[in-house]
Assembly symmetry: D5
Homo-oligomer: 94 residues x 10
C-alpha cells in the first residue's frame, strides 16, 4: 500500500552539535535499512529545502505510523501523509 | 532531472459529455506515451481526490513546461511543481 | 484499516431539482449499504455545514478510493482523507 | 452530545524529561478514565503526527470545556472542536 | 448552551429578483421568531460585510443544526460555528 | 458602539509561576471592573481554547484601543477586532 | 473616528456593459460626494489591482456600515475594515 | 510616490527592559523626524494590535527601503508594503 | 525603479474563441512594445502554470499601474506586485 | 536553466554578534563569487523585508540545491524555488 510522505526538518539551532550529528547519522541508517527492506521505496530531496518527499510501500496504516513515529528526527519534523492508489492511466495497470 | 507534480482536475459540470469523455481519453493516451518514453516515470491517484501525484524525469525546465502545457486536461487543472534532487540517504546514491 | 474522511458538499444552485433529489437519494442508499457492510463505520453531520465527518474501515487505500470515487455526490464534494492508527491510550488497545 | 476534537501535541524539546514522562503518563490515565466513563468514546492516532482525533459524548459545552481544559498536556496542545449531529443517512437513525 | 455563529451571505447576482426579495423576507421572519423564542439571543451586522455574528442559546447540537439547516438563506451562506462556555471572569458567574 | 473581540492567550511555559498567577488575577479584576462599568458587555470562553470571545460597547475606537492595550495579558495575546452594527433583522431594532 | 477600508472589486465579465459603465459612474459620484462631505478622507488605487485603500472619518460604526452597504459596486466587492486610533508617535498628537 | 506600510511589532518578552524602552524611544524620534520631513505622511495605530498603518511619500523604492531597514524596531517587526497610485475617483485628481 | 510582478491568467472556458485568440495576440504585441521600450525588462513563464514572472523598470508607481491596468488580459488576471531595491550583495552595486 | 528563488532571512536575535557579522560577510562573498561565475544572475532586495528575490541560471536541479544548501545563511532562511521557462512573448525568443 503506497503513501507519499513529505518531511520538513527543523532542527533547533541550539541543539548540541554532537547530538545533532549523531541523530542525523542514525536517521540515515534507519532510512537506508527500510529502503533495503523495500518499505521506503523512494526518497528525494526537495530543492532548496531541508525536506524530503518519500514514497512508502507498507502493509497498513499501523506500520506506516510505526515507521514515522520512530524516525530519529521525528521530534524536529513536520510530516504530511498522502494515501495513494493506482492511477487508471498508469501503464503498469495493464 | 526529477520533478514532483501534483495535478488537481476540476472539469466544469456543464462541459459537453462527449467532449469530456474525449478529453479524458486523449489525456490517458498522452500520459501513457510519455510513460513509455520514460519521461513520466510515476503516476499515482491521490485517494479520495480527482488528483494525481506524478514524477517526471526530463531534460530541463523547458521540456517539463512543454509537457504540462500540452496536457489535454491542462485548462481544467491546477498544477504544482516541485523540483527534486538526489537525497544523501538514498541507497542508490552509492 | 481506519480513515477519517471529511466531505463538504456543494451542489450548484442551478442543478435540475429532479436530478438533485435523485442524486441525494442514491447517495443515501449507497452510504447505507456500505454501513451495513461494515466499511462505513460512522457518519456524522457537521453542525451548521452541508458536510459530514465519517470513519471508514477498509481493506486498503485502493478500496477507500473506490468507495469515495463512486459516491453519487462525488462531483460536488471536496474530500479530505486522514489515515488513522490505534492510539496507545485507547482502552481497547489492551 | 457529540463532538469531534483534534488535538495536536507539541511538547517543547527542553522540557525536563521526568516531567515529560510523568505528564504523558497522567494524560493516558486521565484519558482512559474518561473512556471508561463513556464520555471519551473514540481516540485514534493520526498517522505520522503527534496528534489524535477523538469523539466525545458529553452533557453540554461546559462539560466538554472542563474535560479539555484539564488535560495534563493541554498547555502543549492546539485543539480544534467540531460539534456533530446525527446524519440523515446514518442507519442508526432508524 | 451557547454558540457563536458567523454567517456570510453570498446570493448569486443572477438569482431571480423576486425570489431574492422573498427569501430575504422569509429569512427575517424566521430569525425574528427564533429571537422571540429566546433561542437566537443576539444578531449583529458585521460592518462592511453581508454577514452577521449571532449568539444562539439552544438545547443541544441537534437543535442548533436544525435551526441553521433551515435558514432560508442557508444555500447561499457559509457558516462557522464556535461552541461557547461560561468564562471564569464573567461577573455573572457569581 | 459595539465590537466583537476574540482574544487568544498564549502565556510562555517558562514565565515565572508567581508572575503568571498575579497577571491572571489582575486580568480578571480588570475585566470585571469594565463589565461593571458596562463597557465589556459579554465575555465567553471558547470551548477547548485558552481564548475568549467578548463584546464591547464603547464610546469610540480610541477607547476600545485603550482598554485592549492595557489588558494585563495583552503581551501574551493575539487579538482580533470586528466592528459591529445593528442588524436589520434584530427585533430590538423596532 | 477613523477606519482603513480595503475594497477589492470583481465585476463579473458577463455583466451588461451599459449597466457596468453606469454602476462605475454612480460609484464615482457617490465616492466624490462623501469626499466633499469629509467622511471619505483618502482614496488610493492599489498598484496593479482593481482595488482601493481608503480612509474614512465617520461618526460611528453604524455610519460606516451605511456608507459601505450603499456603495453601487458593493455587490461586486470584497471589503476589509480596520478600525484605527491615534498613534503615540504621531506628531499631530501634540 | 505613495506607499501604504503595515508594521506589526513583536518585541520578545525577554528583551532587556532598558534596551526595550530605549529602542521604543529612538523609534519614536526617528518616526517623528521623518514626519516633519514630509516622508512619513500618516501613522495610525491599528485598534487592539501592536501595529501601525502608515503612508509614506518618498522619492523611490530605494528610499522607502532605506527608511524601513533603519527603523530601530525593524528586527522585531514584520512589514508589508503596498504601492499606491492616484485613484480616478479622488476629488484631488482634478 | 524595479518591481517584480507575478501575473496568473485565468481566461474563462466559455470566452468566445476568436476574442480569446485576439486578446492573447494583442497582449503579446503590448508586452513586446514595452520590452523594446525598456520598461518590461524580463518576462519568464512559470513552469506548469498559465503565469509569468516579470521585472519592470519604470518611472514610478503611477506608470506601473498604467501599464498593468491596460494589459489586454488584465480582466482575467490576478496580479501581485513586489517593489524591489538594490541588494547590498549585488556585484553591480560597486 | 532558470529558477526564481525567494529567500527570507530570520537570524535569531540572540545569535552571537561576531558570528552574525561573520556569517553575513561570508554570505556576501559566496553570493558575489556565484554572480561572477554567471550562476546567480540577479539579486534584488525586497523593499521593507530582510529578503531577496534572485534569479539563478544553473546546469540542473542538483546544482541549484548544492548552491542553496551551502548558503552561509541557509540555517536561518526560508527558501521558495520557482522553475522558469522562456515566455512566448519574450522578444529574446526570436
Amino acid at each position: 500500500m503506497l503513501f507519499a510522505v513529505k518531511m520538513d526538518v527543523n532542527i533547533p539551532n541550539d541543539l548540541d552539535p554532537e547530538l545533532r550529528a549523531e541523530t542525523i547519522a542514525t536517521e540515515k541508517a534507519y532510512s537506508q535499512q527500510l529502503q533495503r527492506d523495500g518499505e521506503w521505496v523512494h526518497i528525494w530531496r526537495v530543492v532548496g529545502q531541508y525536506s524530503n518527499l518519500s514514497i512508502f510501500d507498507v502493509r497498513d496504516n499501523e506500520r506506516l505510523h510505526e515507521i514515522l513515529w520512530n524516525l530519529p528526527l521525528f521530534p524536529y519534523m513536520s510530516v504530511e501523509v498522502t494515501p495513494l492508489a493506482q492511477h487508471p492511466s498508469d501503464i503498469a495497470a495493464g
